[in-house]
């Protein structure tokens, strides 16, 4: 056995099962249309039009504002009672035309359905064809792309809704043409800080990439001229040329890989799914994959960055993190990726909570297989989970040293007095997290440091071996 091979220390049990209850107490995710809206705002000159009741967009806009501390433009067809009876076709036609006329820069309108309009059964594709004709007649100088996005709220979650909208945008807009030599990058649901870091990697490797969706400017400035630049940067042209890329790098299995499969099957663009680059090894794998696809070398600078991160992690791992029990909840790609990261830094992710019901898909996830191979402690993976599952297990005696998750679970940590580090979406109760990367070498390092600092603060407030830090 070579020294760098992980040995099976003991056969620990890793279970994967849905939560036992039917109903939900404290949901982990929003519904499909919310996810679709997040994908939609990543496109430039685009205003998603949500076909449903007004709450379906108003609250989601508020949610985005809470997380990013920014405003995003999302419209509603304002479905009222008469549409519920007679159908909402007229509302779509009027909504599209009003948007087109009042927003002269507008080029894309994703029409995002909801539970109500899917049940009513409005003919979305047919209505959008009528809208398209009306737009050409009334605004002949404009080219406005109408994108049907079917996201009934009673299926999947914000995770699948995000994936569905990315796929619908590509399906509608991608068009075969001249090869661009660029690499499509499906980022999944990440923060502006992650996008900045990804762009940095592509620049260092001299790879031309199309970021889907480019949300870097969701962190946008206050400017002397008062202009507002809070919008997605992925253009119609970017989406069109996804069909002409050298390949698609899909960084998230559940949040966009479907679009990569579509491009492979329809436009023969090679599809390269990788594990989301949380932690060192996943980032290594991603960079190697980029090298493999593009033939570009991994530069010295990234070896250096990797070393800086490892150096920082080594200060923390076996002294502070080892044997510490962690619960993680959030998006599946995030939770599984962070579980792998935890293993790298000797944290023990004993409870993983994933919030929707794609149980059969999770069974095939290679990251879960890896956890089964490498864990020397028991791990419960609960899917279709809610946050009550976490709260209840803690109340039933589960001992945790750390919770990793988004702000909606804040009271679990507060009441149980367990240190918590905010990750994922939304993180409205901590400042500026959207600006920080969680992926990549730097993300791993910054997350580990946040975890350490949260633990240190907790040690001090609870007088729990706080004197250890008297010298470090």
């Amino acid at each position: 056995m070579s020294t760098c091979e992980m040995a099976d220390v003991k056969s620990a049990e890793v279970t994967l099962a849905p939560k036992a209850r039917a109903g939900v107490i404290n949901p982990m995710y929003d519904c499909q249309p919310a996810g679709a809206q997040f994908a939609g705002i990543g496109v430039k000159d685009c205003i998603p039009l949500v076909h449903g009741g007004q709450g379906c967009s108003m609250f989601v806009r508020l949610l985005f504002a809470q997380h990013f501390k920014e405003n995003f433009s999302i419209a509603s067809t304002s479905l009222h009672e008469d549409s519920a009876v007679f159908g909402g076709k007229k509302r779509i036609e009027e909504g599209v035309m009003v948007l087109a006329k009042r927003y002269p820069e507008l080029r894309v309108i994703p029409l995002i359905t909801t539970c109500s309009t899917e049940i009513i059964g409005d003919d979305i594709e047919g209505t959008l064809r009528l809208c398209d004709r009306a737009l050409k007649a009334e605004l002949p100088d404009r080219e406005i792309h109408l994108v049907p996005v079917h996201t009934p709220s009673f299926k999947g979650s914000q995770v699948t809704g995000y994936a569905e909208c990315v796929k619908s945008l590509i399906k509608t807009l991608a068009k075969k043409g001249e090869p661009t030599g660029k690499l499509n990058v499906l980022t999944g649901w990440v923060n502006p800080g992650d996008i900045t870091l990804l762009k940095h990697y592509f620049a260092e490797m001299d790879v031309a990439a199309t970021i889907l969706m480019d949300t870097e400017d969701f962190d946008s400035p206050m400017l002397p001229d008062k202009s507002i630049k809070t919008y997605g940067r992925t253009t119609v042209e970017d989406l069109r040329d996804t069909a002409n890329a050298v390949g698609t790098l899909a960084l998230a299995r559940y949040e966009g890989a479907a679009a990569g499969e579509f491009l492979r099957d329809t436009h023969q663009v090679p599809h390269h799914p990788v594990s989301t680059p949380y932690g060192i090894k996943n980032t290594d794998d991603m960079l190697r994959k980029i090298q493999e696809i593009t033939g570009k070398e991994i530069p010295e600078s990234l070896v250096h960055e990797r070393g800086i991160a490892l150096d920082a992690l080594a200060d923390l791992a076996h002294m502070f993190f080892a044997n510490k029990k962690v619960a993680i909840y959030g998006h599946p790609d995030l939770v599984l990726g962070l579980a792998q990261f935890c293993m790298e830094v000797e944290l023990e992710p004993v409870l993983l909570l994933i919030g929707d019901d794609q149980g059969s898909k999770y069974k095939k996830d290679p990251r879960i297989a890896e956890l089964k191979r490498t864990a020397h402690f028991d791990i419960d993976i609960v899917h279709n989970a809610d946050l009550w599952e976490l709260e209840q297990r803690i109340k039933d005696g589960l001992k945790l040293d750390l919770i990793l998750g988004h702000s909606k679970g804040r009271y679990i940590a507060i009441d149980a007095k367990i240190p918590m580090v905010r990750v994922g979406f939304p993180t409205f109760d901590r400042a500026g997290l959207y600006r920080k990367p969680t992926i990549g070498y730097r993300g791993a390092m910054e997350l580990a440091e946040s975890i350490a600092n949260a633990m240190f603060t907790h040690m001090e407030y609870t007088r729990e071996r706080e004197w250890i830090l008297n010298t470090w």
Binding site: I25, Q54, F59, L79, C115, I228
Partner: protein, 475 residues
């Protein structure tokens, strides 16, 4: 022409009926904005849905009821962690939300069984809680689940629980307002009069239309305690389900938010002969009037005067300090509806502030009658204002501060206009005497924020930034 067609509305000229610019010679009969009317699709209106009007605004405030939302997960997720209404039992209402997590098979085969299962589970998981409100949503209404029958069955199976059903899917009505209405009328029809509580004072009232935002209810409760008035029920700030079943026992209904809760006060008057007294609880002058009226009703004027004298002695000098420094500041209010008329004259009288633009999401024409009667000439009064209209109005009126929601607030920040949360407050409570000092302080801190001056500076500009020498003084 008193009604204004803004440039951004050229393509939707019907918006003219919703935007009013007040001038002294207007005939009131021609200048009331049309309100509570359908939204124009695609306008980027600020409105929410009827479901949220019932759950988020009223029902979800209660401190001791499970909020079971029968529908897909989003309706529950979205109406959780969006409000600041604490309770005296550790914020049970803000910590939890419940959903039947409706899926496709329930849409196809009906969701009644799922609802029963989720209700029973919720009671089993939280055995100390015996009260529940069940809400329908768009899909459960469309597929026609018999929610009330399911609820009756559960109540037969569990005699110690009581459940109230609210049937107001998101698409009903034109805004949140419909949900307020459905909950009000449903509650009076089904729950008021089903429980008698112990009466401990000769003076009893319901406090209707205050939702304990950042502790408003707690603050006002100190006044009622000092006056010796028993508040039978709070509709619904820090409110309890069972207290609201006893609303019929009060001698008086005191109404603050007439928009969300006026219906139940009207019905209490009609059915039980309980007089409805509308007051404003924001502002020194208004709060004073309100206390005087309540005390006059009960014949306890002396207690009232004592309380008012004490509160004025304590807080008025602080308010005046801010008033002196806020003279002539220009403010906009873009909130739900009632706060427009509650605040416009109060901030003018008590703080010297001019309110120059107001927009209401879900106000009715009655709310516009009130705000136009109280508001200034030269001020814009807008029903269901939308994003492009906001930009245009901001250019027209020049603002020092805006009271609105966080999302519009972020938009205004980019335009160097400080925002204060007009729904959840920045650092409240804002009601009562102490509260209005808090509000003045938040405004003072906002308008004197150095960052907005710094933001206006282009560092490439050869002329150095001219900052006011001293923005602030020690308070």
């Amino acid at each position: 022409m008193p009604m204004v067609l803004l440039n951004c509305d050229t393509d939707i000229p019907e918006r003219q009926k919703h935007v009013y610019l007040k001038s002294p010679d207007d005939d009131p009969a021609t200048c009331l904005p049309v309100a509570n009317a359908p939204t124009i699709p695609g306008t980027l209106s600020e409105r929410g849905c009827a479901f949220c009007g019932a759950k988020l605004v009223i029902g979800g405030v209660l401190k001791d009821a499970i909020q079971m939302i029968h529908g897909p997960i989003g309706c529950a997720y979205d109406t959780w962690h969006t409000k600041r209404y604490p309770t005296d039992n550790g914020h049970f209402n803000m910590k939890y939300v419940w959903s039947t997590d409706m899926k496709e098979q329930h849409v196809v085969f009906g969701g009644d069984k799922r609802l029963a299962q989720a209700i029973n589970e919720a009671f089993d998981q939280m055995p100390d809680v015996k009260r529940m409100i069940v809400y329908t949503t768009c899909p459960t209404a469309l597929i026609g689940d018999d929610v009330k029958a399911t609820v009756r069955q559960v109540m037969r199976d569990r005699p110690d629980v009581d459940i109230f059903t609210v049937e107001c899917p998101g698409f009903s009505g034109v805004s949140q307002s419909k949900g307020h209405h459905v909950l009000n009328i449903g509650w009076i029809n089904e729950k008021v009069g089903t429980l008698e509580k112990e009466i401990t004072s000769e003076y009893t009232m319901n406090l209707i239309g205050d939702f304990n935002i950042q502790g408003d209810t707690f603050l006002l409760q100190k006044y009622w305690d000092r006056l010796g008035i028993q508040v039978i029920s709070h509709f619904t700030g820090n409110g309890s389900y069972d207290d609201l079943r006893s609303m019929h026992q009060a001698r008086l209904s005191v109404v603050n938010c007439a928009r969300s809760s006026g219906y139940i006060a009207n019905e209490l008057k009609k059915r039980y002969g309980i007089p409805r007294l509308d007051i404003d609880t924001w502002g020194f002058g208004y709060m004073t009037d309100g206390i005087r009226k309540i005390c006059a009703f009960f014949g306890i004027e002396e207690r009232g005067e004592e309380l008012i004298a004490e509160e004025w002695a304590k807080w008025k000098p602080q308010l005046d300090w801010y008033k002196e420094r806020l003279q002539g500041k220009r403010m906009a209010i873009w909130t739900g509806g009632p706060r427009l008329w509650h605040w416009t004259k109060a901030v003018e009288d008590d703080m010297g502030i001019e309110v120059v633009a107001m927009s209401s999401k879900f106000g009715h024409e009655e709310d516009f009658e009130k705000v136009i009667a109280r508001g200034r000439d030269g001020t814009y009064y807008i029903d269901d204002g939308n994003e492009l209209e906001f930009f245009e109005i901001v250019d027209l009126v020049k603002l020092d501060v805006i009271f609105t929601g966080p999302r519009v607030g972020e938009l205004m920040k980019k335009m160097h206009i400080p925002y204060i949360n007009g729904h959840g407050y920045h650092n409240g409570p804002y009601m009562g005497f102490e509260g209005f000092v808090n509000m003045a302080r938040d405004i003072y801190n906002a308008v004197n924020n150095p960052l907005r001056f710094l933001a206006a500076q282009d560092i490439r500009d050869p002329l150095p930034l001219i900052m006011p020498e001293r923005l602030r003084e020690a308070a």
